[in-house]
């Protein structure tokens, strides 16, 4: 009887183990982004956020130990998360809110981007 009981418990534990191992969590890729320039942060403010995605279901930003969830998988679905990080950065002493996708006038392009845009204008069409 003891052996039978033992066997039942082993089967149940194995079943639970197999079920829990069935679906591996999707592998996550992460990349760090320095938001200092976007938020006009002073040099002593750490404005590095980490963007992570499993490429399938979830994406999120992590800043100062807090996770800010995106609504989808693409980075483009993270506006709300970035706004929340923006608020945290403003509290930390950064100067301006991130140049959003809505207000074109507020977007500050790097010199490199400005130069590239000029090259796009002059070099994209064959004469």
């Amino acid at each position: 009887m003891k052996t039978k009981n033992f066997f039942i418990w082993v089967m149940m534990i194995l079943a639970v183990a197999v079920i829990s191992c069935d679906k591996d969590e999707d592998e996550e890729s992460c990349d760090s982004e320095d938001l200092a320039a976007d938020f006009n942060c002073p040099v002593d403010v750490d404005a590095i956020a980490t963007f992570c995605t499993d490429g399938v279901n979830n994406s999120y930003y992590t800043y100062a130990g807090t996770d800010y969830m995106c609504t989808g998988v693409d980075a483009s679905t993270c506006d709300e998360a970035l706004n929340e990080i923006g608020a945290a950065l403003l509290e930390a002493g950064c100067g301006a809110k991130k140049s959003g996708s809505v207000d074109a006038a507020k977007i500050k392009l790097s010199t490199m981007a400005e130069n590239l845009l000029e090259e796009v204008r002059t070099k994209s069409i064959y004469e």
Binding site: K4, A15, T53, A104, E119, V120
Partner: protein, 217 residues
């Protein structure tokens, strides 16, 4: 009597746990849906696709991508140069990029339209570089003004941008993206098999080698 009930209970526990165990093993051994190679996952090239490589290659890698997606840019920045050198330039692989946009209109869609039209009728090099370096440029007035200038400069670009040619193409990509039940970018489709998410060069290399063997046999 009590002993009999207890015996029956144990027997039931034994049967149920055995069924759960067998079920779990079967479930574990079954391939995941995304691992399957399905004929309905087929994709076709379009004249507006952004293509790297020749037709006479072992395999064609389709890639759903967006310049607004961080990991697509990371792929193009960190992985693509090695893939290009090892597989595309050597004629082993052709990469067909199909840009997708979730929005139906707006700056992102316009930038994709410009990208595919310039790629088809002009020189995409600088625009590609710009979109990888500074994707938020598409929201600026300057980008809009450059777009308008390019439209005025070339009648083919104008036709591509101003008729529904590019718009229909982007819409078709989005339909394909949904048909294949893709949930995010980048997503790769090789030999009717879907690979979701960003891949490092090593991961991508393994996939390519496996798919080349599949294609050659």
């Amino acid at each position: 009597m009590v002993l009999k009930i207890q015996k029956n209970r144990r027997l039931w526990i034994f049967i149920v746990s055995t069924i759960i165990f067998i079920g779990a093993v079967v479930l574990f051994l079954m391939p995941e849906e995304s691992d399957e190679r399905k004929p309905e996952n087929i994709l076709f090239e379009n004249e507006l696709d952004i293509v790297y490589g020749k037709d006479s290659t072992d395999i064609t890698v389709f890639m759903f991508s967006s310049y607004n997606c961080l990991f697509c840019r990371k792929f193009f920045r960190d992985v693509f140069p090695d893939v290009d050198k090892e597989y595309i330039q050597t004629g082993k692989v052709k990469l067909v990029v199909k840009p997708v946009a979730i929005e139906k209109s707006g700056p992102v869609v316009n930038s994709i339209k410009l990208a595919v039209c310039i790629n088809r009728f002009g020189d995409f090099t600088k625009l590609y570089e710009l979109l990888l370096t500074e994707p938020k440029v598409v929201y600026t007035d300057k980008f809009e003004s450059v777009t308008n200038e390019l439209i005025q400069k070339n009648e083919f670009v104008a036709e591509c941008m101003l008729t529904d040619m590019a718009e229909k193409y982007i819409m078709r990509n989005y339909i394909d993206f949904n048909r294949l039940k893709c949930t995010g970018t980048p997503t790769f489709v090789i030999n009717n098999k879907i690979y979701k998410g960003y891949k490092t060069y090593d991961e991508f290399q393994k996939i390519i080698e496996k798919e080349r063997i599949y294609a050659l046999h």
